[in-house]
């Protein structure tokens, strides 16, 4: 059985090491926080916070305390706040160890497209371009294929890029792939998924 959303998030949580400062994107990456276990992980919210806590209890929402998805959240004992220039200074400066992000397309060279579909409503890249250019390691978590069954892992991205050669690892419902200078390399297969099935579902070349 390929992994479901929660199992993909659980697998992505294995990428995190004790002591890391990490930025989690919206969607499946947000679920990764549920699986960090005993590891000492500090979550960054790029609107200006380190040490992001869970959603508040009903009635305790604070309009001055939101995450980058504009959701109400809470602080922890370790929390610090700072302005947006400082926040992206630590991102651009490589102080944030990893970002776990969703994607529309990833190429075999590690190009990432996740902000714009031409001809559709363009909302903007927010902090995604800064994150992929700056953080130590970029892990993409996404479904292997789109809703039409077409591979999202391609020889070349067709959509406008968020970053060029920025993705280090891809976690999908079928397994885990690394972007190496020789090409895509299978690190792990989800239970019951064969190497042949992974290759067949992937438009890009797997070496």
């Amino acid at each position: 059985m390929p992994w479901d959303r929660n199992q993909m998030a659980e697998r992505a949580a294995q990428e995190l090491e004790d002591g890391m400062y990490v930025n989690l994107g919206i969607g499946i990456p947000t679920l990764v926080a549920n699986y960090v276990g005993d590891k000492d992980i500090t979550l960054q919210s790029e609107n200006g916070m380190l040490g992001m806590g869970p959603f508040p209890y009903e009635g305790e929402e604070d309009p001055d305390l939101i995450n980058a998805g504009k959701q109400t959240i809470t602080e922890l004992r370790r929390t610090s706040y700072f302005d947006s220039a400082t926040s992206f200074g630590m991102i651009r400066g490589g102080k944030i160890a990893a970002a776990i992000l969703g994607a529309m397309e990833v190429s075999e060279k590690g190009d990432l497209a996740n902000w714009m579909i031409p001809g559709k409503l363009v909302k903007g890249m927010g902090g995604a371009m800064d994150l992929v250019a700056g953080v130590g390691r970029v892990v993409v978590v996404m479904d292997h294929t789109n809703k039409h069954g077409v591979s999202k892992i391609l020889k070349e991205c067709t959509l406008p890029l968020t970053g060029k050669a920025v993705v280090d690892r891809i976690i999908t419902n079928l397994g885990v792939l690394d972007v190496t200078h020789k090409g895509l390399h299978i690190v792990e297969l989800a239970p019951g998924v064969s190497r042949e099935e992974m290759i067949a579902a992937t438009e890009a070349t797997i070496v």
Partner: protein, 234 residues
């Protein structure tokens, strides 16, 4: 020098002109200068270019200046929550310059720090890099981004003393300090104004040298996405 004004309209008196560039603080609807935005709407100033991470929602935040068609151009990173914005943009009434969020923040900080340009890796190899100078440092390619020098900064802080020293609250700080820095004139709205000496000098987030006018008022502080958990989940 008197910095405290009675209301937002008085605090903006004499600084507004058609076609000006305004830098605005706030992220989503969090920490936005809602009183100053309303006062600019009432003043009717037109053809504005506004550097702000977001464009508000249809009836709150910078969205109110879109409703009145006072905005010519937005410089933003994310504008997804605003139907009127999309209508004006798709019909060609409104110009939009997308900036990666960190690039936008740094452009404001740089402008306020006397830095006309800086090199960044963000956006290399994307549409953002098109037409911009590229330069290699230590084998990596960077693009040139320019500092923002705004005619006016509109900012929301939590507390000010009468000399303009500011303290922000939680994630409402966001773009407010860099926006404040890059304004030729900086007008700040706060929840509370206190006397000098009441704020600990070691805890000032933005020194009063950046702040020219202050106004105190009541804030709606609308929540964009109310997310909660139930007590029994604990």
């Amino acid at each position: 020098m008197k910095k405290v004004y009675a209301n937002a309209a008085e605090a903006l008196d004499g600084v507004l002109f058609d076609g000006m560039l305004i830098a605005a603080g706030g992220f989503g609807l969090c920490g936005i200068p809602e009183l100053l935005i309303a006062a600019i709407r009432d003043a009717g100033t037109k053809n504005l270019t506004i550097a702000s991470n977001n464009a508000g929602v249809d009836d709150f935040g910078l969205g109110v200046l879109l409703q009145t068609k006072q905005v010519k151009k937005m410089m933003s990173s994310y504008v997804g929550e605003n139907a009127e914005f999309m209508r004006q943009y798709l019909s060609g009434e409104l110009e939009l310059e997308f900036n990666p969020q960190g690039t936008l923040a740094e452009r404001m900080r740089a402008g306020g720090s006397g830095i006309p340009g800086f090199y960044t890796k963000t956006g290399v190899g994307t549409v953002i890099a098109e037409g911009k100078e590229h330069k290699d440092f230590n084998g990596e390619t960077y693009i040139l981004e320019e500092g923002i020098f705004a005619d006016l900064a509109i900012v929301k802080a939590w507390k000010a003393d009468t000399t303009g020293n500011l303290i922000f609250r939680k994630t409402a700080r966001n773009f407010n300090p860099p926006a404040a820095m890059c304004g030729k004139v900086c007008v700040v709205e706060v929840e509370e104004i206190v006397e000098p000496g009441e704020l600990d000098p070691d805890h000032i987030h933005l020194p009063g040298v950046y702040v020219h006018r202050i106004v105190q008022g009541e804030h709606e502080k609308r929540i964009e996405q109310r997310t909660t958990r139930k007590k029994e989940d604990a």
